[in-house]
């Protein structure tokens, strides 16, 4: 009964989304009229229906009702309560329900918080969002319904995929989805702007907060996913240029370009067409990401079920989103108006360069990610494009963007002038840290390219430092927050570059087969396997190794890597043990056991040292905080009287 009610609520949300689309469309001519109000109400009702449906699915998970196929495939009675709840969005159907829920939340959000000063644009955007909701809800209801039943009911559940039973991964999908779906709001606004024939400047202003919010969530989501890959997959890497990662990276690049170009559009009326196009492409690439991840057309180290029928649905939705957006843009872009002129040394020029480079990076990532698909479609020999391609293309392009980044905040709008911005003191403040970082890296034996990366990272961090030094010049809470947000985000990107460069500079990995009492040396430390014991959990069995770390005879604590076997899913995972220090992470993973010739059991132990890896997490946190600061700056500005 609970399951059937949930199923009905999905159907109801679909009908309400249809009403939202139609009523709001009819209401755009008279934004204060009955139809517009009915459209807004439909948006709120659709959100309410899906909130209840989501709650009902959670109840089914808590009850372990295995007459529901999705619960049976993703839960187990022995699962800890926390992962019972996160299992709700751990599989395909549940994550699509979450996607649709967020989509309706954006619809209701547009109706309530959409552009105040332009009600027609707001109502039109609510209608476009209704169309998006309708498509994805049809997919949810007809091809991936989480409330599908099993008759007879399954005896027990398969359990959530064990590698997904992890706190970071519990919040990673909602964050990532919030980012993707937030971009749907930007898409709807851009479509509404084209339909209503708005100029580029007001449209940029309307899209700005939505783009910023979506970008912040997307950043946090990607960072969490990368962190998870770092410690859960047990390989020590943090970014693999894997199709699933690229699927989230492409919209991020577009959204990053968008938050910058939207500023230029909002402030100076620059790039009217380009900003709108970016808004359309950012969500299109999000939908492409959903298609790539969920249809399984690409080989990926991250795994999700693949299903050709679902792939076709998502492909159809993707074609509608991309086709409608691009066709409308082609027809109406001229109405956005021409941009204001600016000098080649103005801030607009730098934002333009940033956009060009980010778009180029997205383009090369797109090419590399989809190239195997093209080859396959043309009947060629199956190929794969790996990290070397992306390292050779996207990395230098993004590095170049980082080189330009510190200048932009010092450039004036429109007129520009390099001489005024690049004072000798500032130049020294940029060049000195960069030179120090680069030369230090070289002296410590880093390869030249990685040293260059370190120099660029330090350059970017120094630029952000110079930016924040103008703190006293910013008057009022809003401008101060905006400045802090920009500086933090820019510094964060610099720290990420530094972390990546140092990770590439000194890769260190040792492997040994250790029985209790034996030891190995790794990065100047002695790791001694003290004992191996059973450490079973509620839904898994585990071998836990206690490995004592000593350095120059001084004890540095005990690491406890684990190897877990989850019987319900018949899967083994490894839980790595990490000792984080300022110099870097000592990363120890427990591999397969093997029996020696004398019958004794020994375990494969892999020890890696990842230098300065904390900079990646620190950088990502700074970028996210920067986004939040910039968002709150807008909130403060809006509330200010006058």
């Amino acid at each position: 009964m609970i399951a059937e009610l949930g199923r009905f609520l999905i159907a109801l949300a679909l009908a309400l989304s249809a009403a939202q689309m139609l009523f709001a469309w009819a209401g755009a001519r008279d934004p204060g009229g009955a139809f517009a109000r009915a459209g807004a109400r439909a948006a709120h009702a659709a959100l309410a229906a899906l909130v209840v449906a989501f709650a009902l699915l959670t109840v089914l998970f808590l009850q372990s009702d295995f007459s529901v196929a999705y619960v049976a495939a993703n839960s187990h009675v022995d699962k800890p309560l926390f992962y019972m709840i996160t299992g709700v969005w751990g599989g395909h159907e549940g994550s699509m329900l979450l996607w649709c829920l967020l989509l309706t939340a954006v619809g209701a959000g547009l109706a309530k918080f959409g552009p105040r000063g332009d009600p027609a644009l707001r109502v039109r955007a609510v209608s476009v969002q209704g169309a998006l909701q309708l498509m994805f809800l049809a997919f949810l209801a007809l091809a991936s319904n989480p409330f599908d039943r099993l008759d007879p009911a399954a005896l027990e559940g398969s359990g959530l995929n064990p590698i997904l039973q992890d706190p970071a991964l519990a919040i990673h999908p909602p964050m990532l989805f919030l980012g993707y779906v937030g971009l749907s709001g930007v898409y709807s606004l851009a479509m509404a702007g084209l339909i209503e024939g708005r100029k580029g400047q007001p449209l940029g202003a309307a899209m700005r907060p939505w783009a910023l919010g979506a970008w912040t969530a997307l950043t946090a989501g990607i960072a969490l996913g990368s962190w998870w890959a770092y410690y859960e997959l047990g390989w020590g890497g943090w970014w693999f240029w894997d199709p699933v990662e690229n699927a989230s990276f492409m919209p991020w690049l577009m959204a990053t370009a968008l938050i910058h170009s939207a500023i230029a559009s909002d402030r100076m009326g620059a790039f009217p067409g380009w900003t709108t196009l970016l808004a359309l492409l950012a969500f299109t690439l999000s939908a492409l990401g959903a298609f790539l991840v969920r249809s399984g057309v690409l080989t990926s180290v991250h795994a999700f079920a693949l299903d050709p029928e679902r792939g076709l649905w998502l492909l159809a939705i993707l074609i509608v989103i991309a086709g409608a957006g691009l066709a409308l843009f082609a027809l109406r872009a001229h109405r956005l108006g021409a941009g204001q002129g600016f000098s080649p040394t103005s801030r607009e020029a730098f934002i333009g360069a940033n956009n060009l480079l980010l778009a180029a990076a997205a383009g090369v990532v797109f090419t590399g990610t989809l190239y195997p698909l093209f080859v396959d479609a043309l009947g060629g020999r199956p190929v794969s494009v790996g990290a070397p391609y992306f390292d050779a293309t996207a990395t230098p392009i993004l590095a170049f963007a980082l080189v330009l980044m510190p200048f932009a905040p010092f450039m004036a709008w429109a007129k520009g002038g390099l001489r005024k911005a690049a004072t000798p003191l500032r130049a020294a403040g940029l060049i000195l840290p960069a030179a120090i970082a680069g030369l230090t890296a070289l002296a410590l034996g880093a390869p030249p390219l990685a040293a260059l990366g370190a120099a660029i990272g330090a350059w970017a961090v120094a630029g952000a430092g110079l930016d924040i030094a103008r703190w006293s010049g910013a008057v009022g809470l809003g401008p101060k927050l905006a400045l802090a947000g920009r500086a933090m985000a820019h510094a964060g990107v610099g720290f990420i570059a530094l972390g990546a460069a140092s990770d590439a500079s000194w890769p260190y990995e040792r492997m040994a087969i250790l029985a209790p009492g034996e030891s190995m040396t790794a990065h100047g430390r002695v790791l001694t396997m003290q004992r191996i014991m059973r450490a079973d959990g509620p839904n898994y069995m585990s071998d836990l190794a206690e490995i004592a770390v000593t350095r120059d005879g001084r004890a540095q604590g005990v690491l406890r890597p684990e190897r877990r076997y989850y019987p319900a899913a018949d899967q083994t995972t490894r839980e790595v043990a990490i000792r984080t220090g300022l110099a870097g992470d000592l990363y120890v993973a427990l591999g397969e056991p093997r029996q020696r010739d004398d019958g004794a059991f020994a375990f494969e132990v892999r020890a890696a040292f990842n230098p300065l890896i904390w900079m990646l997490g620190f950088g990502a946190a700074l970028v996210t905080l920067g986004g939040l600061a910039a968002l709150s700056a807008r909130g403060v500005e809006r509330r200010r009287p006058g």
Partner: protein, 312 residues
Amino acid sequence: MIALGVLAAIAAFVAAFLVTWPLLGGKRRWLAPAAAVFAAGLAFAVYAIGARPDLPGLPYDRASAQRAEADPMALTRGERILRLQDMIRAGGADAQAFNLLGRELARAGRDLEAVSAFEQALHLSPDARIYSDFAQTLINLNEGRVTAEARSAFEEAARLDPSLPEPSFFLGLGAYQDGDRDEAARLWLLTLAGLAADDPFSAVIAGRAADLLSRPQADPALVAELADSPDMTPDQRIALMVEGLERRLSFAPDDLSGWLTLARVKAALGDDAAARAALGEARVRFGAEPGAQALLAAAEGALLDEEADEER
């Protein structure tokens, strides 16, 4: 089902009228009820695709209660396993429940989980039978090898209940796997001595022991001898093997496995009389030992059957 229908209808019409409410004030007020009915109808139509309103929900607690009330024998193995796991989860579990669970899991081929269940049972109450089942599961898990862990569990079982036949049989198997055929023969004779003659296991164990002990290719001494002369024809090898065996037995006739092997080789060569003679020799030397009669009878039966097969 009726409650579901009522709830769904209420949800649909409340939502639909709430949404269309503003239209009632306008010029085209007929549109409000029409749109409301249309939206509700669309919702029911979409719901109907793949709906199963007839299927009641089955929370795990209810499924578990149904299993607990059912007759265990009427359940499938998977259901019996779950029934036991539910009892254990509820906290009312004793060693017996863990032991039963371990056995069911072992029969279902889920050896790793079975081992875990047996460990729990032994933790609660050390018992010879459970030790024996535990050790047998360990052997299954290791594809038939009697590991050190299994061996110590069998030794513990034998200590707790010396009358239990399995430990000496599997410890014998372990000795056999290590190449110690004399120790294997001694332990297996011990197993057979402990069983009544009409025990169905007696014939099975005797047959298995006779088969293993008489395998020429598993006799370490013979294998070593043949390895020295690799380029011989099969007939020459058999001849050499028989010669070597006979020589060895003439020096050291207290070798049950040797006599059985000789009988098997002779029988395979078609020399029934010699096979019987070898078995007779073994009977003379070992007949007095308890259990040997069953073993020799099994060997004789197997060899005669083999001959009968060949004649057919």
